[in-house]
Symmetry: C2
Subunit: 196 residues, 2 copies
DNA sequence: CCTACCGATCGGTAGG
DNA sequence: CCTACCGATCGGTAGG
């Protein structure tokens, strides 16, 4: 998955069109003939650019994983309080998702069709990503900023309260990524209830 | 979808096994031959009990929709404050999900493979369900209990912060449905931050 | 509930 | 990037 390989413009186009179809129909329900006719070529011709249907899914999933992972790793190493870190995590996460909703949607709902060893690698990365969030929650609990019953449970709830975004967000909608992130962190960190 | 039809034990078994496979492999990636061999019969024999592969998906999806909808409709008509109502909504939602995680998982991630007019009916029910939640949030905002930027956005975030549960919850795990609901409402309604 | 079978479609390859 | 084609598998039906 470390894609050191050069990706041609044509291959890039195939990936983009595949992403759109995988999002709309699902990976399994999308045939290579669907993809070919959507691009305007014969199905057999796709194979001069890609090795297999699954290669497309691998590229989409691991590319998104990298885009999510890197900024969060950087924020984690900054010298910030736990709640400031969590806010920045959420903003970063939201920005990556809203920046490419199609890839994000495929990433979240089609990864299970990866075959081994890609599936295991993918799950390992996901665990690491969640681990960064969990660590900050625990840190915040230690310093008396956060309260919660179970750190992992809370992180999964937090992340999934954001991860429906790709299936909903429109770039021409009224909410910017920043407003969405603010909304999520406000509700999740500060709560829905008016403080009294 | 109003299933007035009597469902035989054998059909019930087919539905349950189909649910398990749809959850594990996805609807499109599950063949009728997969299902048949999982049950221990020939693929052709399935069709003396069901009309089509999609009928199985229809039954699973609309059955779950009913199970979610009914209790929430009842709670909505009770004479409670907005935050009490929301708490009861969440508890009901969590209970239905944890009670049948396999059906819930299929319900949440495979509904898009429904054909018309089932797809439109399904989306209509989903909108109505979300509408009940939205109404309570707006009510709570009017009575000064809740604050939020956008009611629909907040409801979608709330529901999706719960809807990952089916893919995670184990009946023999340490958290009961009540504890999960408590956890979700505590964080979501009261916030993660310690009040000061 | 089975055997036998249908036409359609699948991911992918050979060879140019 | 195309034509031609492969074996495998798909959802489903006929007939018993």
């Amino acid at each position: 998955m470390p894609t050191t390989e050069v990706i041609s413009n044509r291959k890039q186009e195939i990936i983009e069109k595949a992403t759109a179809l995988f999002q709309k129909q699902g990976y399994s329900a999308t045939s290579m003939r669907d993809l070919a006719s959507f691009i305007g070529m014969e199905a057999a011709s796709l194979y001069s650019h890609i090795k297999s249907k699954e290669e497309l899914l691998q590229i989409i999933c691991f590319n998104m994983a990298d885009k999510l992972f890197e900024p969060v790793k950087n924020i984690a190493s900054e010298n910030l309080s736990a709640d400031e870190k969590l806010r920045k995590f959420v903003l970063s996460h939201v920005k990556v998702l809203t920046n490419d909703t199609a890839s994000s949607a495929v990433f979240f709902s089609e990864w299970r069709h990866l075959s081994e060893p890609y599936l295991s690698d993918f799950l390992k990365m996901r665990d690491q990503y969640e681990g960064i969030f969990i660590k900050v929650l625990i840190e915040g609990n230690r310093t008396g900023i956060f309260k919660f019953l179970d750190a992992k449970f809370t992180v999964l709830a937090l992340l999934s309260s954001i991860n429906w975004l790709p299936s909903w967000y429109k770039k021409d909608g009224q909410l910017s990524p920043e407003e969405i992130a603010e909304n999520v962190t406000d509700v999740f960190i500060n709560g829905l209830k008016v403080r009294n």
